[in-house]
Symmetry: C2
Subunit: 211 residues, 2 copies
């Protein structure tokens, strides 16, 4: 057993390893079927324990009690599974943003958003944090798909009418703080209610800090 799982089998293969990632076309973010959802749920569970790169298809298959071949029936590659899992977690954030946007006022929208973000972080924990902070996933989402659009909507809800570049730091910090704090061993011992309350309170402190 090893630090990355056991005796290791972890990296890229093929002709062009390393920094380049040929993702091909965006693997259809269309809604997963029931069987695909089972794969995604199991994959997120294993990713949370082993990291994305440290997870094999066999582990995912074992987790949900099917064979590797069954995974290939639902998805054409590990890459597609990883992407589908990441997009499924990102969709949860998107749903919270959409709910906040229907609020009557900008102030209420912000409150709904903060509560929703905190709830998501506490409820999803490592399952969301691990996949969305994976360096390869971050690199992919940084310039593909709806990620940038989602972040712009989030920015508009949390920090309305502020387009100065520095306010991007405030947004990045709030996101990192909420999603990262729950992963820290220091927060592991706390009950969820205390965690929720403190996260909401301190998120307000960052967002309300004067310029």
């Amino acid at each position: 057993m090893g630090i990355t799982g056991k005796s290791e089998r972890l990296s890229p293969t093929g002709p062009d390893c390393g920094e380049r990632y040929g993702w091909g076309v965006d693997p259809a973010a269309s809604s997963p079927t029931a069987a695909q959802s089972r794969v995604i749920v199991g994959a997120l569970e294993v990713f949370a324990r082993n990291g994305v790169g440290g997870t094999s298809l066999q582990m995912i298959a074992d987790e949900i009690g099917v064979t590797k071949a069954a995974l290939f029936y639902q998805y054409r590659s590990k890459q597609e599974i990883v992407l589908a899992a990441a997009e499924s977690e990102l969709a949860r954030l998107d749903d919270v943003i959409s709910a906040a946007e229907t609020s009557a006022s900008a102030g209420e929208a912000r409150e709904v958003m903060i509560a929703g973000m905190v709830e998501l972080a506490v409820e999803r924990g490592r399952r969301m944090g691990t996949i969305l902070s994976d360096p390869v996933i971050v690199g992919y989402f940084a310039d593909h798909g709806g990620f940038r659009a989602t972040m712009q909507r989030l920015r508009h809800v949390l920090i309305p009418d502020d387009h100065r570049p520095e306010s991007a730091v405030r947004l990045a910090m709030v996101i990192a703080a909420v999603s990262g704090a729950v992963l820290h061993p220091f927060a592991a011992g706390l009950d969820d209610d205390t965690l929720r309350r403190e996260l909401r309170r301190l998120t307000h402190a960052v967002l309300d800090a004067p310029d």
Copy 2:
């Protein structure tokens, strides 16, 4: 090429995959030799791009221009390399804490600590963030080695004389916010000076928030 690097080779091997990690004895956190330092520097670079699990020994060897066998001369396994790299980054945080602790007053110590943390985050970026947020590394450090002691010292410098459980959330949030914000694509476009200034300012906002 894949989401985790290329065509994948990523996970645990052997009889007992998954949640258990037998680390054996703590792989001597003694100071690395010059050759070992070269391995660690290269490894951190590749980890930052591919994740810990997504990095093979071949990639590390290529990064520093040696063969795989040369790595095995310096370290006995991939696990030892990963641990040494993580401990080397953690040692940088330890150094900043030690510097802060020599301050004349508690207030000055906190200022030194905040500035040092922010500097570390901006300077090290993904090289520190990726390895210290890897789920397997987090799990290992959570109950081994000097990690808990380091976190207690950090807590005492940043939030003196507050031993309530909720203040752990404040600490976890500050750590996550500072180290995580620099990894976010939103912060990627900003110049380092603006980033530093905003991070210091908002860190104060969290630490100074009334109870």
